[in-house]
Amino acid sequence: MSSPGGTEHDTWPLWEVFVRASRGLSHLHAGSLHAPDAELALRNARDLYTRRNEGVSIWVVPSSEITTSDPDEKDAFFESPKGKRYRHASYYTEAEGVKHL
């Protein structure tokens, strides 16, 4: 397990920034930045990542607080859903042509 970009010690820690582009959408990862604390991280994020009207809401999270899945375990981690096509509507072909289904 690791944190994105959180490998070195800097005077100001690294934060990950998530921006909601407009109401009704999820917050999406926009990038990261440095800030001494959460309050300034939020403000820096506003200044850096919404200069062109890109957002209506912002989340900031210390990079070190993010836990990622282990890339070396990728196969084991993400194997299970493969081959289970019956979870998708496209699997069910017999109903083709029938309306409102």
Binding site: S22, L33, R43, N44, D47, L48, N53, E54, G55
Partner: protein, 271 residues
């Protein structure tokens, strides 16, 4: 790919260009008032622009630049509006007036000093501008009211930015505390001038806001922050002022010389 992860848009707002094209000219008296507001913002933007590529951290470069751009936007709107009274453009007013014709309050022309002094100046002026623009949203002149409505939201953010840094500098290290106390001592003598009424404002009635009416809220807001900062209101010397009449400290001249040098070398040119 992240192409869809953020949307970019221009956003709606009332700009300098709109004003020079669509708005009815103000009376000369109201134009002089708008010029004061514009000069305050322009001189502050010019001061803050210096920080670009000099801020304590890159994130702060971006933050100070945003504030400078907001102020420049306000200046352009007010000066465009004022210029209509004499068939002048924002640039005629910014680049071809002399020092004694600038009517900004003196606090705006005070030097940047170190980061602490810049923050102390921001702390004072953003508190002042906040109260002012909120009140001016109700101006009897619809253009002043419209410019102020946008500006009020923007300077509210400037006030928050200054407050965050006041706290961090005052309560950070011994060094930062010493510096912010010194910075505020340098700036505070110029506070009084911001709240003095004069004939121009009194003659404009409901189009303008008497500065004295903003003082109580300003004191309350600044005291609240200073208390959290464990700082005192500086006492003693009060600057004589006179900025509104074109009397300035020795810092304005060089600022204008730099700002105007190129435009004046090519009178009549367009850029």
């Amino acid at each position: 790919m992240s192409e869809t992860s953020f949307q970019v848009s221009i956003g709606e707002a009332f700009t300098a260009e709109d004003i020079s094209e669509t708005v009815e000219a103000p009376s000369k008296q109201l134009a002089k008032y708008a010029m004061r507001l514009g000069d305050d913002a322009l001189i502050l933007a010019q001061r803050l622009g210096w920080w670009v590529a000099r801020a304590p951290e890159l994130e702060e470069d971006v933050a100070l630049c945003n504030i400078a751009l907001d102020q420049l936007g306000h200046a352009r709107a007010f000066l465009s509006f004022a210029g209509l009274a004499w068939a002048k453009t924002e640039d005629d007013l910014a680049y071809f007036r002399n020092e004694s014709e600038f009517t900004n309050a003196q606090v705006f022309e005070q030097p940047n000093g170190d980061f602490a002094q810049t923050i102390a100046r921001q702390f004072v002026v953003s508190n002042y501008q906040c109260g002012l623009y909120i009140a001016l949203q109700a101006s009897a002149n619809s253009t002043i009211a419209a410019i102020s409505a946008k500006a009020a939201k923007e300077v509210d953010y400037h006030r928050d930015h200054a407050r965050q840094w006041m706290l961090r500098l005052a309560l950070g290290t011994d060094e930062s505390r010493k510096r912010i106390i010194e910075g505020l001592n340098v700036i505070w003598p110029f506070v009084d001038e911001l709240f003095r009424d004069d004939e121009l404002v009194e003659g404009l009635g409901a189009s303008a806001v008497p500065p004295s009416s903003l003082r109580a809220d300003f004191d309350k807001a600044t005291l609240e922050v200073l208390a959290r900062c464990e700082m005192e209101v500086p006492q003693g010397f009060v600057a004589r002022g006179g900025g509104r009449q074109g009397i300035h400290t020795e810092f304005l001249g060089p600022l204008l010389a730099e700002m105007q040098v190129l435009a004046r070398a090519h009178p009549g040119a367009t850029w």
